[in-house]
């Protein structure tokens, strides 16, 4: 079924301000960047993670926070249910996760299943001190007991709607849009 645009939720400026607020909140909650690592979930979460790390560095006087990228394909619980074989990309976390305060970053929080995969994968890599979750959009409809620590925007949606985050790095421009089913 085709999807049509229902509304624009965020534009470029708003995405930037939101990420800036989240970066401040991360610093506030953790009292700085000590022992911190930021991990983005492929694909768009990875770019958001890089942006947040850059902002944190600017706010906190140039201190660099290590950034990693997580590919959760191999941890999916629906691998055999999706028609085509998903393409596997690599996970790249170059720092030791043991005893780190990890901030996991993704674009949209929906059922919580992606985050479940990411948590399992991170815990397979070691024993972080804690894992916090930052998302640009929380659209509800959780199927697992998972919540975000930092939320860009809460968006009430129906199940058949879809939230799309587009980022310059992949899509050529920054925006968040809400798509809905085309009436038959």
């Amino acid at each position: 079924m085709a999807l049509k645009v229902k509304s624009n939720l965020m534009d470029e400026q708003m995405i930037r301000r939101t990420l800036m607020r989240i970066s401040h909140e991360i610093l506030e909650r953790n009292k700085g960047t000590q022992n911190m690592g930021i991990v983005g979930i492929r694909c768009r979460g990875a770019y958001l993670a890089k942006r947040v790390a850059q902002m944190i560095k600017e706010i906190d006087g140039g201190k660099k926070v290590p950034v990693g990228v997580l590919d959760i394909t191999l941890y999916r619980d629906d691998l055999t249910m999706i028609a085509a074989c998903p393409v596997v990309h690599s996970t790249k976390i170059d720092f030791d996760v043991n005893d780190k305060k990890l901030v996991l970053v993704d674009d949209v929080l929906f059922t919580g299943r992606t985050i479940r995969c990411a948590l399992d994968e991170l815990i397979d890599m070691g024993r972080p001190e804690c894992i916090q979750l930052a998302v640009l959009v929380d659209r509800g409809h959780r199927e697992l007991p998972i919540r975000a620590d930092y939320v860009g925007k809460n968006v009430p949606t129906t199940r058949d709607e879809s939230v799309e985050v587009r980022l310059t790095e992949v899509d050529g421009k920054d925006e968040v849009i809400l798509l809905t089913q085309e009436d038959a």
Binding site: D71, L74, Y75, L79, T80, M81, A83, A84, C85, V87, V88, H89, S90, T91, K92, D120, E121, D124, M125, G126
Partner: protein, 314 residues
Amino acid sequence: MSEWTRKDLLGLEELSTEEIELILSTAASFKEISTRAVKKVPTLRGKTIVLFFFEPSTRTRSSFEIAAKRLSADTLNITTSSSAIQKGETLKDTFKNIEAMQVDCIILRHSSSGIGHTLSKCVTPSIINAGDGCHEHPTQGLLDMFTIKEKKGSLNNVKVSIIGDITHSRVARSNIWGLKKLGAQVTVCGPRTLLPRDIDKLGVKVTTSLPEALKSADVINVLRIQRERQEAGLFPSLREYAIRFGVTREKLERFARKDVLVMHPGPLNRGIEITPDVADGSYSLILDQVTNGIAVRMAVLYLTLQANADGEEE
């Protein structure tokens, strides 16, 4: 990116360029897993894989088993001496029985060329060819290509010389088919008696002169002299073979490019087709091949088992 739809991997001859590239790029992603503290992902949890090896093997069998275990599949080993084949059961019956135990994948090494093609028509589990007679050894071909690609960035126009017993080599055939599809230039070199007639029809250069094969090569792939398949006396003696076709440091320094890379599928006959100073020296990629074999086999198991599961749903 192309999709993977094959439940079996029987050879590289029937694969498209895109399919080979998909395996190689998937393998690149899997390589990282083996560097983790916990070298395991849950992807193939609940799948059962049987390793059927009717010929001796250390590398291939353990590599497949490690690949399967790092993807969380359960594995079972069957060898000729411990199976009911000894009591006269046919291979088809054995496979039918294994199938009845709800196995998802059978990895098969056997001395009969094309056995995988025949059996794949009889049973539903994925069949992965781990070497069939003198026909193909697709995962060895793939890991050789992966290793070259990792060092050279691409296979396009890379010059590869394959040296040794081409006639009896399934490694050579898989390499030729795969490398040609990805744009490499292949030369085969060996004594005339060990070069198959009409091998040039596969689009390779043929030579019986080792210096010529070494001269222009970016990569040389040295094959093992398969003493178990050498009853017919196709060359006078191992000593003569070593003198004329053995790859030594001295010959490399004299004829080959300075940055030439040397591969060998193992096991090594040190002092026959390759000297220890080459096998253990700076040219050698032999142990990189072994490391990469795990990632390549993980990719093959992931793709074929996923395709097989999709088929069942429909």
